[in-house]
């Protein structure tokens, strides 16, 4: 076990995790997932919110097995390697709000960092704006971290606390398998058209999710951390995983004939550059303050981190609000041969700006320096 632990902690370990995602995500797209969305943590949590009826956007409703697999895969890996450690209590309500605004920012762009990279690997050049925004948001977060931003210490707690999110995922899996209808025309909702209706077979998606969950728990794969660690500590460890993801996903897409360069029209994307950028500034800042990208939060929740679980729930609620209030980006459409640029409603723009105000305020007001060293 120890030699394996050493390998997974090495640069080759993180490259393996990025490679696995880079192969599996385009493959899931090939097998039915939406275009340039083989895996998108934000979009898939949004689909779950829709399936439960928390929002009623009929085209994005499905219980995505990949998300379930991520959490349960991380849980299995954490137990196999005796790393499951239930902990909680590091400003959970702040993490909830960060999760909400992270989702609102990500849905303005239409993707989490994973999907931003996957969109680029499929030729969607709007992703460049999204990734630039992400890096900018993380850079702002790094300044707060340098100034002492900290959400405080978590405490060790009952193992059962760490099991809450994994068990919720088991519950979601049951809803997916048995497809109950709770009220007439009511949930569980599964999209009949649009991205929500596009998915690989349940067990393939779940299997891919489990594999990625295990690998990512072992290697601590994190897209936000990849950028943050370079800015903060000149540490390129996590970055090698992110670069591997981009390169391998591009190669896999080429092989599968899934590359199409351009700005518009691109699948489930809009080409309003300013809001693509600013949406991801908000998401990047929220991820940086919360200490992990959406994927990483799922893996942390799987290994017992109750605070990461609260962030995940915040993201799901944020997705519901984004669609109920019309805050999410509208994709570009082609009307009679002409491209009609989508983008944000005025409310969506307002929500992104409000999110930036709130996250920056958090950055300024939660800077109590932790006791560094000294007596213990």
């Amino acid at each position: 076990m120890s030699a394996m632990t050493r390998f997974f902690a090495s640069r080759w370990g993180i490259i393996l995790a990025g490679t696995a995602i880079g192969v599996l995500a385009p493959l899931l797209q090939y097998l039915g997932n939406p275009k340039n969305m083989g895996i998108c943590v934000a979009c898939f949590e949004r689909d779950i919110a829709g399936a439960l009826g928390l929002h009623r956007a009929a085209v994005v409703q499905y219980i995505r097995p990949e998300i379930i697999g991520f959490v349960l895969g991380a849980l299995v890996a954490a137990y196999l390697f005796r790393e499951f450690r239930a902990r909680a209590g590091s400003a959970p309500v702040v993490r909830f709000v960060l999760g909400m605004f992270a989702m609102i920012g990500a849905l303005a762009f239409l993707g989490c960092p994973w999907r931003a990279v996957l969109r680029l690997a499929g030729g969607d050049l709007n992703a460049i704006l999204g990734l630039a925004g992400l890096a900018t948001g993380i850079a702002v977060g790094v300044q707060f971290l340098k100034a002492g931003f900290n959400l405080g210490r978590a405490q060790r707690t009952y193992a059962a606390v760490g099991w809450v999110l994994p068990l919720l995922m088991v519950g979601l899996l049951a809803l997916l398998v048995f497809e109950p209808t709770f009220t007439k025309d009511g949930p569980i909702f599964f999209s009949k058209s649009g991205p929500g209706s596009m998915h690989a077979a349940l067990w393939i998606s779940l299997g891919a999710g489990l594999v990625i969950g295990i690998l990512a728990q072992r290697t601590r794969f994190c897209t936000m951390g990849a950028v943050r660690d370079v800015m903060l500590m000149r540490d390129t460890h996590l970055l090698s995983g992110l670069v591997a993801l981009l390169v391998v996903a591009f190669a896999t897409n080429l092989y599968l004939g899934q590359v199409s360069f351009g700005f518009s029209p691109q699948p489930v994307a809009h080409s309003d550059h300013f809001w693509n950028f600013l949406g991801m500034v908000l998401a990047g800042l929220a991820f940086a303050l919360a200490g992990g990208c959406p994927g990483r939060q799922l893996f942390l929740a799987g290994e017992g981190d109750g605070d990461a679980a609260v962030f995940v729930l915040g993201m799901i609620v944020g997705a519901a609000m984004a669609h109920n209030f019309g805050l999410a980006g509208a994709p570009d459409t082609v009307v009679e041969g002409a491209v009609k640029v989508g983008g944000l409603s005025p409310y969506g723009m307002g929500a992104v700006v409000l999110g930036l105000v709130v996250t920056v305020l958090m950055g300024f007001t939660m800077r109590e320096k932790v006791a560094r060293g000294g007596a213990r």
């Binding site: 790393e83 450690r85 900290n150 978590a154 060790r156 903060l232 200490g291 000294g374």
Partner: protein, 70 residues
């Protein structure tokens, strides 16, 4: 021997690595860092090695103690 002590228990990424890095840059050795997750242990170990330090790890209570020497 006087140890510089860094208590990074309960803190999440990137705090433990930042605290270790700060202590290393302060230049007083040896440094003892206590952490409570394997992630923090590996992050602190990597940061110390990047700074050209030697690192010894031993279990301590719920977590680990890393002794960093230049």
């Amino acid at each position: 021997m006087n140890f510089i002590e860094v208590d990074a228990r309960g803190l999440s990424c990137p705090q433990p690595a930042m605290m270790a890095r700060e202590a290393i840059q302060a230049g007083q050795f040896p440094i003892e860092v206590v952490v409570d997750t394997v992630t923090s242990r590996e992050n602190v170990r990597r940061i110390a090695r990047m700074a050209g330090c030697s690192v010894e790890v031993e279990p301590a209570g719920d977590g680990f103690k890393l002794t960093i020497r230049k």
